[in-house]
Symmetry: C2
Subunit: 367 residues, 2 copies
Amino acid sequence: MTAPLRISLDAMGGDAGPEMVIAGANRSLTHHPNTQYLLFGDEAKVQPELNKFPNLLKRSTIIHTDISVEMGEKPSQALRRGKRNSSMWKSIEAVKKGEADVCISAGNTGALMAMAKICLRTVADVERPAIAALWPTVRRESIVLDVGANVGADAQQLVDNAVMGSAMATALFAKERPLIGLLNVGVEEIKGLDEIKKAANVLKNSDLPFDYHGFVEGDDLGRGVVDVVVTEGFTGNIALKTAEGTAKQIGTYIKDAMTRTLITKLGALIASNGFRALKRKMDPRGMNGGVFLGLNGLVIKSHGGTDAKGFASAIDLGYDMASNKLVERLSKDIEKSHELLANDLAKEAKPILAKSETASEKEQINE
Amino acid sequence: MTAPLRISLDAMGGDAGPEMVIAGANRSLTHHPNTQYLLFGDEAKVQPELNKFPNLLKRSTIIHTDISVEMGEKPSQALRRGKRNSSMWKSIEAVKKGEADVCISAGNTGALMAMAKICLRTVADVERPAIAALWPTVRRESIVLDVGANVGADAQQLVDNAVMGSAMATALFAKERPLIGLLNVGVEEIKGLDEIKKAANVLKNSDLPFDYHGFVEGDDLGRGVVDVVVTEGFTGNIALKTAEGTAKQIGTYIKDAMTRTLITKLGALIASNGFRALKRKMDPRGMNGGVFLGLNGLVIKSHGGTDAKGFASAIDLGYDMASNKLVERLSKDIEKSHELLANDLAKEAKPILAKSETASEKEQINE
């Protein structure tokens, strides 16, 4: 029997706090019984929730801390107040110390990213970590990154995102050479940004551990044309939220259409099995969890507003990533790619590296 | 009785060419009987189609030209081949000469924009035209721009987009002070690009002919939170196509769910009135047409792959825009806003104006 996987949870994260987190952990435990939990948070609040689930109780340790990061707090403020001693920081630190294989938090995204960067540091040569999301498609899921860690990216960072997303696809889909696409606009006249074209040139001509498909457009995301869609965090975040919003909007349309008359209600009742299947398909909780890529350790961000079912999905995703050794794989791939591309990138990408911005950003969060 | 509105059509544009264009015009004529058509294209192909519709025939003039722009052609190539003599150019030129009130084409977007810019020129002080799309929401439509005319925008251009979108909203929704939002990402850590923040400062503090709501995120698009969502063409294009793709994807899910078993098929049959209503709601043809804003004349771009019904929507949109004097309104608003903001923008935005890029772009299409 292999050693149990060790999962650290920020028990205070999310809109609903410990109640949701602990119930989610219990749910995930039924999927993956061979896990152990470190629960960071206010013992007085966590213990009563944990007592509800005898199986989880047996496999959990509570580590008490008074301080928790607020959902609306600015990252800089969260760091001032919660660096070293908050439930969020400590749950990340457990990964750094080797006490846990993966950390999951439903807390404040900005604070979580800031703390994870400081605590875990980026993998050698990666300038900025990215957040990767699973994207449902008509085929199966694909991976989209960055969905919001950084605004803007130069060619080097886009190539890094491709390498990191590819490592995640290999870990998650068991595909040796995932298919990678670069998100772009199709209109001939404008044909996208310089850095995207530069990244495309590098990806096209290099011997990296994936296959490069070419450009993809917004409507290719839901088609599952590629395994990994690479973009920068501004566009990725807006695409992700636009898709979520559109799904919700159509959900409203469906409800309205099926409750128009007694007859449509009757039809919908008879077809209720179909509607249940549709609901499962469109349930955002089934695909909850943003993976922080490019750090020396695994951190998963759950939606703050999710429930136990959604939080369990985020833990399950963390389980998959950790048991498939994502960080080790990614670090190796990134190192190899930087060696391989040293020449290309010196020619192609270095002049547009936003060094100054990144430097000042680091200072800010190190303050 | 008011004078009939005069509509010029690029009869050769679109994947299906004259057959689709003429049938679309006939369909729109039933909505707006008081219109006259100028049809630019190959008479041998256009006349037989026109002969099918006696009413349209009476109200139409064919202007023959051999040359038409190909759907896949590069704009520079289209200009070399088709400047002055193609059906696309001539249909735009009719607006310039005052022979038509609006031009509609389902042809190559890049070529249409390039020709429209050269032929009509931008309104005084507008550096770059934008493409505005109607966006269906759970409330009613809103306007999103730019959805693909230009990659990137500085603060000045974002403010221009706000003013132009507002003029369009006033014309289309008969709302004196439309509500404007700036598309941004919500994550606290990153909070968007500098130019967006600068544009927000200008919009917040200025006495412009609309109300400024603040930032909106991707998932606010489908909610109809504001009348006009302002962004630049890269993000706007990806958001638009992502929403279209998501709608298609969910359409597939609905079909799959309702054809799972005989029972679900029966239920769906009984609820067929509801499904028809849903289909109408999700039909992209009902909201076809990108409006080119910022030019001295009105040009509407229809989806190239649409059918007669979709093309009729684009004509209807052109009819609404022309009869509400969009261009006059927009020119006045832009002029006023540039006067009002002369100081703010000198301070705020001028340093990041991408003058050089625009200049070289102009050279390129003037070649």
